[in-house]
């Protein structure tokens, strides 16, 4: 009995999805859908939070007051993205504190791109241009994903990400129009960030294990390789405008496919960084844990004070 009931619920759920009717928190949903979403949304939230670190690294050294404010505001936006996304995960029954614990214990993943170091100011430009650019490629389709709260969070996020990308490109532009040394900084940053940016789209479609089900549920709308191709095709003319060279000898326009062919991605490096062996994995987690641990007394005090106030107000109400 319960089986046939489940089947009909599941059928109705899929029918809604097929008809592009968004799923809301109170609607029935399969456990797998809920779990997949919690994993995907919380990973995304963690990426926003860890992503604050490599760029935050340059706030104190930004080269002008205007750039300093631009970068501060950008990193603050990422914190805001983290908040919206943890909020969206909570609508699925997850709890922000335990999601954050999973990040800090190393159990939860976040985007591997943030395990690379920011060595020069040009990295701030390259990250805005390429990393925010790749994030937009990945995230714009999610603005129409099947889960309402996630889709709505992504609409706000994407607006800000496209601002970040323009800001990053503008930083690159200033460097490329600057002195020869500045242009060298820009080229060096592109050399280091290009391949990790391509890896942001995840493994090749043939290797990607969650894709088919996620496509059916419309929480993923294009394949990793499709999105990666779009990113390459978008970036090539931009690099040309900047006058710097994408570090890929195999990169060339393919007249037949009307898109760019590009070289082989070093998947060994990718999986190594995923497994924790990237240049900054340990450093990033240590920094996050340190901030969290050092903030413990603050969170405890805020809770204790709120409780005291509640009691005082209750007593006041009693005596009144």
């Amino acid at each position: 009995m319960s089986d046939s009931k489940n089947i009909s619920l599941e059928d109705r759920f899929q029918e809604k999805i097929d008809n592009n009717i968004q799923i809301e928190p109170k609607d029935w949903m399969p456990e797998g859908y809920r779990k997949t979403l919690i994993r995907q949304i919380s990973q995304h939230a963690h990426s926003e939070i860890v992503g604050m670190l490599p760029e935050g690294n340059w706030i104190s050294r930004a080269p002008s007051l205007r750039r300093k404010m631009g970068l501060l505001a950008k990193v603050q936006d990422e914190a805001g993205h983290g908040l919206y996304l943890y909020g969206a995960a909570e609508t699925l029954g997850a709890d922000r504190a335990s999601l954050i614990d999973d990040l800090h214990s190393g159990k939860a993943k976040y985007s591997s791109i943030f395990n690379y170091p920011t060595l020069t100011w040009a990295d701030i430009g390259a990250i805005g241009w390429l990393v925010d650019g790749a994030a937009i490629m990945n995230q714009v389709p999610l603005c129409s994903c099947s889960y309402g709260p996630y889709a709505r969070a992504m609409v706000r996020v994407c607006k800000e990400e496209s601002f970040h990308q323009r800001q990053g490109f503008e930083i690159m532009m200033a460097l490329c129009n600057g002195s020869p040394e500045q242009k060298e900084l820009a080229q060096d940053a592109l050399n280091r960030w290009w391949w990790p940016s391509l890896m942001m789209f995840g493994p090749n479609d043939s290797e990607s294990k969650h894709s088919a089900q996620s496509m059916k549920w419309k929480i993923k709308r294009f394949s990793n390789d499709e999105l990666r191709q779009r990113f390459v095709d978008m970036s090539v003319p931009q690099a040309k405008i900047l006058g710097i060279t994408i570090p890929d000898a195999d990169l060339k326009w393919n007249e037949e496919t009307k898109q760019h062919d590009y070289g082989k991605i070093d998947w060994e490096e990718f999986w190594n960084v995923v497994k924790g062996n990237g240049p900054c994995n340990k450093q990033r987690l240590k920094t996050r844990n340190k901030a969290h641990d050092q903030g413990k007394w603050v969170r405890e005090a805020a809770t204790a004070y709120a409780e005291k106030r509640r009691q005082r107000n209750a007593n006041r109400a009693k005596t009144a």
């Binding site: 939070i49 604050m52 670190l53 935050g56 706030i59 104190s60 050294r61 930004a62 080269p63 002008s64 007051l65 205007r66 750039r67 300093k68 404010m69 501060l72 505001a73 990193v75 603050q76 914190a79 805001g80 983290g82 908040l83 943890y86 100011w121 930083i171 200033a174 460097l175 129009n177 600057g178 002195s179 040394e181 500045q182 920094t287 340190k290 901030a291 969290h292 050092q294 903030g295 413990k296 007394w297 603050v298 969170r299 405890e300 005090a301 805020a302 204790a304 004070y305 005291k308």
Partner: protein, 250 residues
Amino acid sequence: MNKSLLNYTLRIADNNLILGHRLSEWCGHGPILEQDIALTNIALDLVGQARNYFQLAAEIKGGGATEDDFAYLRDVYDFQNVLLTEQPNGHFGETITRQFFFDVFNYYFTQALTKSTNSQLAAIAEKSLKEITYHLRFSSEWMIRLGDGTEESHAKMQQAVDDLWMFTGEAFQADALDLEMVENGVGVKLEEIKPYFDQKVTDILDQATLSLPEGNWMQKGGKQGKHSEHLGFILAELQFLQRAYPGAKW
């Protein structure tokens, strides 16, 4: 060029820049995501205000001077911020205490500056006051929350108050420049805002179950360019790129 007016304007700008810089060091490291965002907001406000004052200073100085020249190309002895603003962040409670003391001063100072006979300074003050009002509310609330929170937080906050109080006197000690600017109606009468500062600090510390330390020795020197060792390191980071690539546009 009116050199006194330039220096007075820089003095105000420097407080905002240096404290804004300090707060910006928290970005990504806050105890709670919401507070990370809040501290960054205040940092953005302060750096924004510093820019307004630096732009005015550039106008006063003339000769193609820019806001960045003041921030990036002066050395320690040229900066006139009060020592309080350059103190290290320490723990969250120390940052809040430093912020609270500065906000109380800054609130009454800026309020008085809106009456300046220099209309440009008055206009910047007017624009800044709304932001500063919010800063003061934020830091006051956290003083109370942490002071009256747990035993541990109370002890940490009392220690922060004890350590930072000696940096609060300097802001109210009028030097020759302060007096000159009061005389011509441009500057703020520091002895007039001091009672308001004392009243507000006492009121909030009372609510926070905290007390002021016994001793009343006050450090001074920042306004005259005699700083703590901390400022040199702030400038080393702040100015690195402008110093390493002279004349470059960013």
